[in-house]
């Protein structure tokens, strides 16, 4: 084991870590928007919308992410769309993450006591106000810790986009391994970067959980 291999490629790994973080962040942000729509569809009283929401979650949680990513990659090519690999990768991560985030949000809404919406109706709040001022703030508060958890999972899953050639942490570690003939050091180095990012995120998660729990009835 030669630690200097890791030190010498530190710059490349840092840059790659930036790509990993941006790809995952874009994935989680777009995934949140789609996930919110899927969640609303799933909670809808219209049967076909509810069925659509359930089907979306079932498909995107059931098909392995690697298959989804390759599908995105080939699907767009099949229809002659010349989309850069990066867009396919972010899109694939976002669509997959949306299914998990929709479930997180649905769980949060279901966790809210029914009496609150009823009380708001009794007090004469309009439907949109009930959503905006009573249900949404509380549901978001409940879902922040699991959403951070989902971010960690997505960050790890983003290593799979290396197969479509994005120069993120895993890909760059592979390149370093093949250039230096030192796979052990290259992958330990890459792994340490992932670990550092994820432990930081987990720390934020714990902090958020404590902050949000303050002033809440136990």
């Amino acid at each position: 084991m030669k630690p200097e291999v890791i030190l010498r490629s530190f710059g490349h790994l840092t840059q790659a870590a930036g790509v990993t973080i941006s790809v995952s962040f874009a994935g989680i942000a777009i995934g949140f928007a789609i996930g919110a729509l899927v969640c609303v569809a799933g909670l809808s009283r219209r049967a076909w919308l509810a069925r659509f929401g359930a089907a979306y979650v079932s498909v995107f949680r059931g098909v392995p992410l690697l298959v989804q990513l390759l599908f995105m990659y080939y699907f767009l090519a099949e229809f002659g769309l010349d989309v850069p690999a990066l867009a396919a990768a972010v899109g694939g991560l976002a669509l997959s993450s949306a299914a998990y985030q929709a479930e997180i949000l649905r769980g949060a809404f279901n966790a809210l006591p029914r009496g609150q919406a009823e009380a708001a109706v009794a007090l004469g709040y309009a439907d949109s106000e009930i959503w905006r001022r009573i249900l949404l703030p509380q549901a978001l508060r409940i879902s922040i810790p699991p959403l951070i958890n989902e971010f960690i999972l997505l960050l790890k899953a983003s290593s799979l986009v290396s197969v479509v050639g994005i120069a993120e942490l895993t890909r760059v570690s592979m390149n370093i391994a093949s250039m230096t003939y030192r796979p052990l050091e290259a992958y330990v180095g890459g792994g340490l970067f992932y670990l550092a990012i994820n432990l930081t995120l987990a720390g934020f998660g714990a902090l958020a959980e404590r902050r949000l729990a303050a002033g809440q009835p136990r």
Partner: protein
């Protein structure tokens, strides 16, 4: 997709499916056993060991499975660990999932009410009996749903093994796609297949979970 192509590649696809099932079951079994061992060791009152185990869990849960596989398969030979792709895949799945299983079992032990353990001590049960007859049954019942869930997650992770050339289903399918220029059709078929597989496994899992929980609850009541 051309049915002829599929027919011609059926043997290799079937063998790939066999390898997928083998890796899943062997890796999952290894993970459950290792994870249970880790959870038991973590109960010992010896701080350095606890910290080491904690670090093990953090490392395996904090890094991508693909990275662990590369490290094991490409880096292994440099520390004298020379494994075939399939062996590395099974060991990788086992190590990766053992960290999650360890946490699941730990969570299971944490659900056992303290009063039960105190009661066991006060009626004069030895520590081993307390563990085997009081804590373990209750902990396992609590852990079953999470174990089933993790096994379902693991069934999807087997796909990643194709990247280190384990000849499982995904790998065989990509070989077929490359040789017959049917990438899109093959990926589409694969997506449908895995979706059905995971749905079936989830349904079976839910039934197994109900069975096991009911069985263990009745056994626990008798013991």
């Amino acid at each position: 997709m051309n049915p002829d192509v599929l027919w011609r590649y059926l043997p290799s696809l079937l063998s790939g499916f066999g390898v997928t099932v083998l890796c899943w079951s062997a890796g999952g079994a290894l993970g459950v056993v290792l994870g249970f061992g880790l959870a038991l060791l973590r109960r010992l009152d010896f701080p350095p060991l606890r910290w080491t185990l904690r670090a093990f869990v953090e490392v395996f849960r904090g890094t991508p499975f693909l990275m662990q596989l590369f490290l094991l398969y490409a880096g292994g030979p440099y520390i004298g660990l020379r494994l075939s792709a399939t062996a590395a895949g099974i060991l990788g799945l086992g190590l990766y999932s053992s960290a999650y299983f360890a946490e699941i079992f730990r969570g299971g032990f944490a659900t056992v009410p303290h009063g039960q353990i105190e009661a066991a001590i006060s009626v004069g049960m030895r520590p081993l009996d307390t563990l085997l007859r009081v804590e373990l049954p209750a902990a396992l019942i609590a852990a079953v749903p999470a174990i089933v869930n993790m096994l379902i997650v693991l069934s999807k992770e087997t796909v990643v093994l194709s990247i280190i050339t384990v000849p499982e289903l995904m790998y065989q399918m990509q070989t077929m796609a490359a040789e017959t220029f049917t990438a899109f059709d093959a990926i589409f078929a694969m997506a449908v297949f895995y979706w059905l597989l995971v749905e079936a496994v989830s349904r079976l899992g839910a039934r197994a979970e109900a069975r096991v929980t009911a069985y263990m609850a009745s056994e626990g009541a008798r013991a």
